[in-house]
């Protein structure tokens, strides 16, 4: 059996990749994908921990995270579409209408 710590380490690595993606990439869609990667990395942790403790809490929370992520995708894509139609760009650096 693979020990729980392996899963946690993998989840930590995936989460870090997601964070790095959000911080380094400039394309809104890719930033968004990185955020989804972060959420799913956390899901992996939850499932691994649920098996480790032998209780259901961790599995239930994954269901909720999945549906929350879907709602977030729906709203997020609509907002990205709105911005794209107004500005014809998906580069976050070009979104600078407000500067002091």
């Amino acid at each position: 059996m693979v020990p729980t710590s392996y899963h946690l380490i993998l989840s930590g690595i995936l989460f870090t990749i997601g964070v790095t993606g959000v911080l380094l990439r400039r394309n809104i869609i890719i930033i968004f994908m990185s955020i989804e990667l972060m959420l799913n990395a956390v899901n992996l942790s939850f499932v691994a921990l649920a098996r480790h403790f032998g209780n259901m809490d961790g599995q239930i929370i994954v269901f909720f995270v999945m549906s929350v992520a879907a709602a977030e995708v729906a709203v997020g894509l609509a907002i990205i579409l709105l911005v794209f139609r107004g500005r014809e760009t998906v580069n976050v650096d070009e979104l600078n209408l407000m500067r002091w």
Binding site: F63, M66, S67, A70, A71, V73, A74, L77, A78, L81
Partner: protein, 117 residues
């Protein structure tokens, strides 16, 4: 390990035959070129335009609405597994949950989110 020896032999034989065939045909065959023949080989329909073309915004709307309602099914599966043990309480709870979804669906239909024209 002995039982794998025939597999190994088959692998080696297959590799040798393929190599011999390829070399033999390049050495011995006659070559003619034509414009059509020199094109990269593709199967199926000829490619027409880039896959990065724009779609009508209607598709996004349908896809986005689909995702939201699709993922809610995730709550129905665990409920269905223990449906009998939950009894009336579980049934009513799920009815309420579906009712909330129906509110969303009615709103979506009335706002014209599902019209394809």
């Amino acid at each position: 390990m002995d039982q794998y020896v025939p597999v190994l032999i088959a692998l080696i034989l297959g590799g040798v035959v393929a190599l011999v065939m390829t070399f033999a045909s390049t050495m011995l065959g006659v070559k003619t070129h034509s414009a059509v023949k020199d094109e990269p080989f593709e199967c199926g329909n000829p490619p027409s335009g880039s896959a990065w073309g724009r779609f009508s915004v209607k598709f996004y709307l349908a896809a986005i609405l689909f995702i939201v309602f699709d993922v809610e099914v995730v709550f129905l599966y665990p409920w269905a597994v223990v449906f009998r043990q939950l009894g009336l309480f579980g049934f009513i709870a799920m009815l309420l949950f579906v009712l909330v979804l129906v509110v969303g669906l009615v709103y979506e239909v009335k706002k014209g989110g599902l019209e394809s024209t």
